[in-house]
Symmetry: C2
Subunit: 279 residues, 2 copies
């Protein structure tokens, strides 16, 4: 197997959306009214130059490479398909290319980010529309929806990308991964590695584990904490034998998509592929 | 839309396998016992370096770039997923990168191939197992299953890749495209461009058109001419309103896969994408 690190990340994005069921999300069997499976394929095709930049230890800063990946995704898919997944993959790819892909080393990469990386992160929002929570009052000047307009504030306050993430953990599940040792992402990788059968079947079980363990922050942003908790409980019931296909159909019909859980699954698949799990 | 030519070809391979139903083939809704959807995703990830080489007008000969694509596909998918599609895409990609993608210009590219290209083509068979028909007696030394062992004969007889294709049209549908102006491939592109709706729905209709028009040569090789003709007739009935999903389920159950038709569809999708059809 001679896939490059960047190709492993690209394949992880493709395998995530091919995994079914991933209740509430676009998957191999389900589209949303405004977001179709094939747009995820197009998004994954468009990210490769950005992933190559991330997978080059002498390449541009993580934030710049991340922006490049988002621009390529958005150009190719004509919409936002994998923003969160790429934000999670960025430090993991940079970690994998310089040595072992461990929680410790990935955390060191995240902590080593600079103000320049934060600038790239904010510029990335100029290429897409992303649903995010309102920031706390003292962070208003750093609302990601400001895009590049937030850059002077970033510089003034000397905030690295890691600092920005650390200030977003309250509502953002990817930020929690960045600043919490990528715990859930590595758990998902372990679950995929431990199981048997086709990788997308293993991934479907890992998705349910993740969704049953914690309320999805993206659902919480869009539908409130109560709905997010209900979804978590229903995922736990599916683990106990209730048909997850039904849950999936209902969540899609109701427009409830646990997007952060899908992002974490993509990260977990990437780690599993790097460990040698076969397709 | 800023996808590179190579990325358009990669996306075409992904969209082909995402198209459903494509009766008898692996698609978004169906796996074969020995070939799963996600292996096609992995195959498509692995071909990009070969496609980049094809999309470089100053790059290696078409045959060498084709071999590179097949090697990458085989390494990543661990099986043969898109050999025929890549053989068809190779001259189309090289054509698109130097100017208009027309039947005339693609034919000129095919005709300009050399003995070196034929050598690359034969070497490609060393990376995969491909089901092919037995060659005529005078072509026995050039049986593709000989792989690189056929190279001395190629040189001795001064056969270009185009010459090899011209000697294989009897049983090989891709060879017929190479030497027949890529007629059916461009017809498929026209059909996709003409229709409306999601590109994978347009592609499903184009697949049925192709399958109903001519018996699939890959089915003929594996199951005989009579079965291939029956499949053609049933595709024609599906055009007239018989549910193609049923045909699809039956063909998959019987292990009958019209692989050449899928290859031609991939070529048609590539042309349609290059013409600006959106995902």
């Amino acid at each position: 197997m001679t896939r490059s690190i960047a190709q492993q990340a690209q394949l992880a994005l493709l395998l995530e959306v091919a995994t079914t069921p991933t209740p509430g999300n676009v998957d191999r069997r389900r589209d949303h009214d405004d977001l179709r499976f094939e747009q995820f394929l197009a998004g994954a095709v468009g990210v490769i130059d950005g992933l190559d930049a991330l997978a080059n230890p002498d390449g541009p800063p993580i934030g710049d490479a991340f922006e490049q990946a988002i621009e390529g995704m958005s150009d190719s898919a004509n919409t936002n398909t994998q923003f969160g997944g790429l934000l999670l993959l960025a430090p993991l790819v940079r970690t994998a290319v310089t040595g072992d892909l461990t929680q410790e080393r990935a955390t060191a990469v995240a902590e080593s980010t600079t103000v320049t990386d934060a600038e790239g992160f904010y510029r990335a929002f100029e290429h897409v529309e992303v649903a995010v929570a309102d920031p706390p009052t003292d962070m208003d000047a750093l609302d990601v929806r400001r895009g590049a307009d937030a850059i002077p504030t970033l510089r003034e306050r000397e905030l690295s990308l890691y600092d920005v993430m650390a200030r977003s953990t309250d509502r953002d599940g990817i930020a929690r991964e960045w600043t919490g040792g990528f715990e859930r992402t590595f758990d998902a990788a372990d679950a995929i590695e431990r199981r048997e059968g086709p990788i997308t079947d293993r991934s479907a079980e890992a998705f349910l584990d993740l969704l049953a363990a914690e309320p999805d922050p993206f659902v919480a942003i869009n539908h409130g904490d109560e709905v997010a908790e209900t979804v978590r409980e229903r995922a736990a019931a599916a683990q106990e034998g209730v048909d997850p296909e039904e849950l999936s159909d209902e969540l899609v019909a109701d427009g409830i998509n646990p997007g952060t859980t899908a992002d974490i699954l993509a990260g977990g698949i990437f780690i599993a592929l790097c460990r040698g799990v076969e397709v």
